[in-house]
Subunit: 141 residues, 4 copies
């Protein structure tokens, strides 16, 4: 399907939707939403650390997955039952003990499947720290 | 390289190593370690929930990643700096609000790269809920 | 959905279907079909070689993809329009200049998505040479 | 490692190297090589077709894999023994019966592992038809 000319939910609406859906587990901040795009921030938290002071793999996975979901919400509106079916992540460099960003864009926006990619960056560093591609299944409406 | 005839660390040693490395973030229990294999349990915790009472994707990712690392530790001994370079996960069914298990086996145990697969099961259910394959890079020794 | 008690197409029927669909490109032999499983053989052919006398990556990809499709056909019957949406392959060891086998089993057989894994072996060698997981999208019927 | 300021092999040198290495199997044209980038073309050929007149998955896999290898050659110079360790591909849209392009860029250029992504396009169509990420292992030098 064609992407809408602009996102159908605001950044604040997506944040509010995700805060409600994930309750206490939602540490991620939605920073920007566009048609087929999102930008999310994982604030630095010592609990996400791995040895060497780096953000953990599961935290990076969570940021990538959340950025994909936020991108879908901004394009389709509130779809509570969209689910991740596949996520592939390459860890490229050790991120430092700083906030992480996930920049997401859709690669395909189908009626049943949405595929997107997410580039993860450590705050203040232009080198990508991880790259993910993922697929969400959209329930029939 | 050939796998050793038996694991070089006990289940308790792997648990103790991971508890120390991950400190407060380590909720996962190491249940069995063999040469090129591991079995790990993620105790059910309401904080890992997604809408619908299911365990979250990031929690399943963490269990898969930990099972791979435990398998490597049991085969190589304590290698603190092994890092995940790639993890691909397919989410197959919604797990219920119960403990999850990860059954891991190595597919290749090279001197520089270890590739393994992890089958994830919900306690008491024979159907696989997720399947992951991952690669760890082993530092030169 | 539940797998049928036995395959709904014979090995010969799957071979004939694929030979017709892929015409001259179909070098792969279907050796066994079961409910949610298949076994396929890629006969050795010098054209599939890479430097060092090993079977090429694209040939291994083709064998994995074909084994997934054959498994789906055996379970669903002739579905010409099923398409691969994702395939992830780990290359583990260099196969020798011999026939390759792909052993496929389904991980999830949904009404819209089928996920399966394929283990690839070089004829006469017990070590896996590659491992793939893939997803097919099944058209509405 | 840092990418060089410009590619260390020309487009013609990479083509000649690959033609020699793959002999008769090499249908792909190298169109551009830069530091950490490549652009390759798979000329349309009825033998790569799938039902419906679309280019086959294995052909798209081959184009993605070749674009990654060409990118590595252009950055490192002739490394005959670099091998693909992982390739993940998402098929997004059916390409038409036309030439395909693969646009490759490196995500990480390490001394042991190179990770890159490849966007595949059908000639004359701005929509991506497939997206791949892959890892090559570089032998010690």
């Amino acid at each position: 399907m064609a992407l809408p000319a602009q996102a159908v939910m605001t950044t604040e609406e997506v944040q509010s939707f995700l805060d409600k859906v994930f309750e206490q587990a939602m540490h991620i901040r939605i920073e920007a939403i566009g048609p087929g795009t999102s930008r999310c921030r994982l604030p630095f938290d010592a609990r996400h650390l791995r040895p060497g002071g780096t953000v953990s793999g599961p935290s990076m996975f969570q940021l990538a997955d959340c950025a994909l979901y936020a991108m879908i919400l901004g394009t389709l509106g509130p779809v509570a039952l969209a689910v991740t079916t596949n996520l592939n992540i390459n860890f490229l460099r050790k991120p430092g003990p700083r906030d992480l960003f996930g920049e997401c864009r859709s690669l395909k926006f189908g009626s049943r499947l949405v595929v997107g990619e997410v580039a993860l960056y450590s705050d203040g560093d232009p080198e990508m720290v991880a790259h993910a591609t993922g697929t969400y299944s959209i329930p029939p409406r």
